[in-house]
Subunit: 302 residues, 2 copies
Amino acid sequence: MPRMSPQSRRLSEALAAAAAQVNAELDLLLQAGECPERRVHDAMRYATLDGGKRLRPFLVMQSASLFNVSPSSALRVAAALEMVHCYSLVHDDLPCMDDDDLRRGRPTCHKKFDEATALLAGDGLLTRAFEVLAGEATHCDPAVRCQLVGELAHAAGGQGMVGGQMVDLQAASLDMDVNDITRLQQMKTGRLISYGCEAGAILGKAASSLRLALKNYAREIGLAFQIADDILDVEGDAKQVGKALRKDAEAGKATFVSLLGIDRARAQAKMLADQACRHLEPFGDKADLLRSTALYIVERRT
Amino acid sequence: MPRMSPQSRRLSEALAAAAAQVNAELDLLLQAGECPERRVHDAMRYATLDGGKRLRPFLVMQSASLFNVSPSSALRVAAALEMVHCYSLVHDDLPCMDDDDLRRGRPTCHKKFDEATALLAGDGLLTRAFEVLAGEATHCDPAVRCQLVGELAHAAGGQGMVGGQMVDLQAASLDMDVNDITRLQQMKTGRLISYGCEAGAILGKAASSLRLALKNYAREIGLAFQIADDILDVEGDAKQVGKALRKDAEAGKATFVSLLGIDRARAQAKMLADQACRHLEPFGDKADLLRSTALYIVERRT
């Protein structure tokens, strides 16, 4: 084990504490009693609980803390965002999409259950996320809840994540350059990361300049995250990462690594993380964990 | 052609006029310019435009008219509900679910495009529906919009339509009686129909007794609709109905017809339609089109 810096130790502890809270919240929000439809609830819980770094929820909770938002409001929004992320993984893993058997080191939802159940579990998670955000238990006023719903839907829909997945499916047959890949990744993974960072500003009714600072931070870490993913896809250990690797290369898809080479890709990710940190200047020390997050994103091994 | 009564003629004209408005609204809400993700937008439009009786939107528009709700608000909510209905059809038709090739007399979405595109189109429609409901263009106050989002999500999710689909998938292996089938159908199709009828009351901030009257009306027509569907499945002409028939019997699933026999099923549907009309008494003549709808539902041939 490499020795950890005080910053990474602090981040590591904060991530673990947040993940525990998010898991407990998801457990509560996805309760299901005995009923004939129990199977789909079990699949929704399987796809959501006990796994993942909970990076997006962490971003919600950290950005909310910059604006003195009630932690319970932030936690609920964080859990809803994680449901949307998990739904996207369940559908993405289906045979007609990426056809993956392994996710977070466990059988994917359709392997554990079956395709139809996984399809419905994804649908159920997406739907539940909006129900949670619109609900009074979010403890924020209805105008804020409408904004949370509308912006998450925009980030996740045809002009966001779903649109990005559509382009990704066609990527192997398209001649994509760095700009095309950047746009694709901003849609496919960037929008939800950005939502996570901006959710705190929405909840806190922040000045637009501060929201913009978080949006800019999110743009840089979103891209850095994807470049790091592409590097992990080439250099990583499937067992440690918990999912199948080197699928992009096998499918003939362009990636940041295939287009830039691994050294330039690594340098680019580092530069983006540094830029991301600079966008946080207006927040002073309060944003230190978000700064550590930017560095963690490019250095992570899973 | 059988001669139409004045009531059915009036309903027929009102349904056609509402369908034209809903189609125009959906066309507007699902606009897409030229972009790399165009394919998923085309699939979303294919699955939504130019088809269907638009019964659920009609229920929204009619129930809204009882409370002097602005027609443009009602139309927008109607279109969002239709998106959720169409998403459910797209996912339901997929090979891992009902594996249907024909819908509304045309190739199903995954036949016209491909499975991955159909999956994403369904996801995109569900997401877009919530974006539309949460948006300011609904022209109602944020608390009402939150309620519209929350209740639609509840009706469509794991304790509603998705839950019903889960039970339906297992139906062939379960020993289901009329009560079980009733519960299943209330979840699978009843909840969205009920949402359509109650949406007008939500938009119009109606007294709870009036909302309850609509909910009771919806419960009866929802069941009548399903019994009529089961009868059509046995007696209907696939070409006229526009989808494959007799799949339930082939799959060994219990239906209202298999449990009650066709004569009792028909009598039951008629009785439910009459009961439905009685729930509309508080609304007087203003609810005449909803009364005709109840009768149309049990007599329809498609």
